[in-house]
Symmetry: C2
Amino acid sequence: MSFPASAPSHTTCTGAMRSVRDSLDLLGGKWKLPIIVGLSGGPQRFKQLQREVAGITAKMLSKELKDLEINGLISRHVQADAAPVAVTYTLAAYGRTLFPVIEALHAWGQQHRAHIMHAGEAVAA
Amino acid sequence: MSFPASAPSHTTCTGAMRSVRDSLDLLGGKWKLPIIVGLSGGPQRFKQLQREVAGITAKMLSKELKDLEINGLISRHVQADAAPVAVTYTLAAYGRTLFPVIEALHAWGQQHRAHIMHAGEAVAA
DNA sequence: GATAGCGGTTTCCCAAAGGATACCGGTATG
DNA sequence: CATACCGGTATCCTTTGGGAAACCGCTATC
């Protein structure tokens, strides 16, 4: 259940690391998580999403969405019936299993920001 | 406490993303987490650690250790008394606050691996 | 007919990440 | 004297990540 709390001994820790690195490979980079969070509020169309993920270029968004779809985290729907061909991206159920991970990163990042500020105060004071 | 479960609305999600990206900036890259896990079992000396983190070069290990130390996640101790100058690296208390994050990444990565295998089975069967 | 939006792709380019190798001064060991 | 271990550093190189801008066909709108 937990990664070894003590005595890594090469083999044990190497094993635990594999899965950690797997996660990081899928979620690493600048845009994967922002996109997932951007979709967490409901389906979005390409340009909508690009506006929401502030700063991302069309090229990056396109590429990252492909990656995420390949890994089953999101799904792409094309409505050819509509006149200018609407495309919507939806966070898949499997993508939602990432929420605890995002939560953990979010919580730590927030606490870390507070930690930094606190250290800064002592200096600034 | 939790990142917005619905209706991101730009501002909300942008705020939540900042801390997530902060975490990723500190922990991202190929080696940071492996090193932390490597130290989770107790203090290690440089070469010991390099052997444990399988595959890392001295240059990378040295650089990453500096980064981690600057961020207060680990601490470096030099024992000049010993003849060939021993250096030990220890996971700081603050570094241990990362355990929940690592746990989350570990758990998801492990589940993901199972997920992939499962999908593979259907094909392989 | 011009302009704007959609959903992208293509090309070019730069900076950062990271690997390989050699080397450093020190000691101990054969 | 040669070799190996320690804790690194310096140099060079390739790979990757990612940004900028132009462009695509199509539609709707002024």
